[in-house]
């Protein structure tokens, strides 16, 4: 198996008629993902590369049985689009959009926790289950099917780690980008829980970065609930305090959210932490080979 997306995924893409939306929806479709619909208000009846476009998420669900939504609209419209997808009963929403206002994210997060819709992102590269489905912007050609589950706050860093693993002969069950924003819809814990329950996954790689305390919370969770080996990486050891390092959520505030504190918290719970992406892959190889 894999987590979150697979051969049963029926994807609807909001923002499909935009330049980026068209490009990536087409890419996902070409990979073999079952892209069943697009949503752009006022453009119902059109199609994008053979994918039918609907005015609303509700129509796309009724007409095509869509069960996963990808949101690709500009930041000022993104919260509304996520809420619309949830309202249409779609159980999993993946939001790629970067730059959504924090208060919007907070309202969306709180509402979705109550309705049970799962959100992955925003500001994330999406999810790839190699050999099954690709939803988002992860360059799938670097990854093959295998037994390593990856969960990460960063896109390119994930490709770097995944590529090093691939060179060592290992593939992935799923790669889940949870995004670099202050209020991610899914946490490390949410995804690690899925990997722990997934047959295909034998090792979990957690790729974190400075800011917040999601890695520390994950360390506690792993110690109590995870039987599979976990290898971690934390980016930002040399980041100066008070500066946002690219991702809105990547900031050391005073003495809080440092990479050193996160690495320590994980190591204290028995998680091995690689100091470079290469070391992470080496640790994974060492554990899987033993």
């Amino acid at each position: 198996m894999s987590v979150l997306i697979d051969n049963d995924t029926r994807l609807v893409v909001s923002g499909i008629t935009g330049r980026e939306g068209t490009f990536h929806a087409t890419n996902n479709k070409n990979y073999g993902t079952n892209v069943v619909a697009g949503v752009t208000p006022g453009k119902a009846g059109q199609d994008v590369e053979g994918i039918p476009v609907f005015n609303t998420f509700r129509d796309s669900v009724t007409e095509t049985g869509a069960n996963v939504a990808m949101v690709f609209v500009p930041p000022r419209f993104a919260a509304d689009s996520i809420l619309e997808a949830a309202d249409a009963g779609i159980p999993l929403v993946i939001c790629i959009t970067e730059g959504i206002p924090a208060h919007d994210e907070l309202r969306v997060y709180t509402h979705l926790k109550r309705t049970g819709t799962r959100l992955v992102g925003p500001n994330c590269p999406g999810i790839l289950s190699p050999g099954k489905a690709n939803v988002g912007i992860i360059p799938a050609s670097f990854f093959k099917e295998g037994n390593v589950g990856v969960v990460s706050r960063s896109g390119t860093l994930t490709y770097q780690i995944g590529n090093t693993l691939a060179q060592a002969g290992f593939g992935n069950s799923s790669i889940v980008g949870i995004g670099g924003d202050p209020v991610p819809g899914s946490s490390f814990i949410d995804i690690i829980e899925l990997f722990e329950a997934d047959d295909q996954t034998e090792l979990i790689v957690l790729s974190g970065e400075i800011g917040g305390d999601a890695e520390e919370q994950a360390a506690e969770y792993i110690a109590e609930h995870v039987t599979k080996p976990v290898v971690a990486y934390i980016a930002g050891f040399t980041a100066p305090p008070g500066k946002t390092m690219g991702h809105a959520g990547a900031i050391v505030s005073g003495s809080k959210g440092t990479a050193a504190a996160k690495a320590e918290a994980l190591e204290a719970k028995g998680v091995r932490v690689g100091r470079t992406p290469t070391q992470v892959a080496e640790l994974a190889v060492e554990i899987l080979a033993s």
Binding site: I100, P101, R153, G155, T156, G180, V183, M245, G254, R275
Partner: protein, 386 residues
């Protein structure tokens, strides 16, 4: 985006939060005129985005016009922890009976706004949190329910606010919460929140951080962005649409994706180098973006060598290679004698490496892995020839 004290107070005033009457001033004459308007005694307060102004001599009380002139003259242009004072805020001196503390922070861990209230105001709240944590009452507000009157009462009683002030403090917190939500703030902090002899409360200071991603909904706040606050190099990068943070080392760094760039800084550091900057050229970087990125990196005279660490996803390595060649042509990089180490992996990496090999740029080295690239760029920064 951080606001100056007076900008925060003006924002508070728009939401009905009581603040002392004041005027901003950029020159000594403006300050004196403002002082006459608000009346004496008045406070002359340095406007800088850093704490500890009082201790640094940036806040003075003026009893008359002469003193206002003297203090404004001393404070304007003063350096406070590396921040030059360009503006002062002239404010009618307040009668203070006691000093409380109130704040609301966007608590990303708890995913809810966190309100804090204490009767131990006027000092560093982190010190209070350390020495006397019970003195701070805290409460998370459900973002979908919003602030309720009982929240105010609960906080006030728990903080030990005087009985006659429970109602005004609760009302103050309600207004502060409304401001936090309406303006999409990440932080609003009032320290001190003063109690006057008439038993009213007012915000004597204001520290406000707004969400930069929400400024499109707040044109008045967006106007407050002051480019002169920013490092000139960071400003130059922003104008070119690049994400850039200046650091104090001598190795220029360019990568794609925030996580990979942070990781690159760490790996360079691990091999004994000191990065001069964080620069994320972004997803799908085109050749022009790479050319401007090189221009920004080399505008820092400390830079002795430059590392390109690219893992192409949406970004194509051939675009990156062409951008570098274009930078050498447009900016005359070849003549500067600054070596470049380039690591290209991912989308179109073979093409990118071939383009670089064919161009045969002076002082441009390639590396197969991130580790090798970092080692090489560190050696080059130390003056080694590779």
């Amino acid at each position: 985006m951080d606001l100056l004290e007076y900008q925060g107070k003006q924002l508070f005033a728009r939401h009905g939060i009581p603040v002392p009457d004041g005027r901003p001033a950029r020159t000594v004459d403006e300050a004196v005129a403002a002082a006459k308007e608000v009346g004496f005694p008045c406070a002359v307060k340095a406007q800088v985005k850093i704490g500890g102004r009082g201790k640094a001599g940036g806040i003075k009380i003026a009893q008359n016009e002469e003193e206002a002139r003297e203090h404004a003259g001393a404070i304007l242009g003063m350096d406070i922890k590396g921040f030059t004072v360009h503006e002062v805020w002239i404010e009618g001196a307040s009668q203070i009976e006691s000093e409380y503390y109130a704040s609301i922070v966007f608590d990303r861990g708890a995913k809810a706004p966190l309100i804090m209230l204490s009767t131990q105001g006027g000092m560093d709240i982190e010190e209070v949190a350390e020495s006397n944590p019970d003195a701070i009452a805290t409460l998370h507000v459900d973002p979908l329910l919003g602030f309720q009157d009982f929240h105010g009462r609960r906080l006030a009683f728990e903080a030990g606010v005087d009985a006659d002030l429970v109602r005004p403090v609760g009302a103050f917190l309600a207004q502060l919460y409304a401001t936090f939500i309406a303006e999409e703030a990440m932080l609003v902090e009032v320290n001190p929140l003063i109690v006057t002899p008439e038993r009213t409360v007012a915000a004597l200071d204001a520290k406000v951080t707004l969400d930069g991603n929400a400024l499109f909904r707040h044109p008045v706040n967006a106007e407050l962005r002051d480019p002169s606050d920013e490092d000139p190099q960071e400003q130059m990068a922003k104008e070119r649409g690049l994400t850039f943070v200046k650091l104090d080392g001598d190795i220029g760094i360019l990568g794609n994706g925030a996580g990979l760039v942070m990781s690159t800084l760490d790996v360079v550091d691990l091999y004994g180098g000191k990065p001069a900057n964080f620069l994320d050229a972004g997803g799908g970087s085109k050749a022009e973006a790479i050319t401007s990125a090189v221009e920004v990196i080399l505008s820092n005279e400390s830079v002795k060598s430059v590392l390109f660490n690219i893992f192409g996803g949406i970004t194509r390595c051939d675009e990156v290679a062409n951008g570098l060649i274009e930078a050498f042509r447009q900016l005359g990089v070849g003549g500067m004698g600054i070596p470049f180490v380039v690591r290209l992996d991912g989308t179109n990496d073979v093409e990118g490496r071939q383009i670089l090999a064919d161009a045969d740029l002076p002082n441009v080295y390639t590396a197969a892995t991130m580790d090798e690239a970092a080692q090489k760029v560190v050696e080059l920064a130390k003056g080694a020839t590779v």
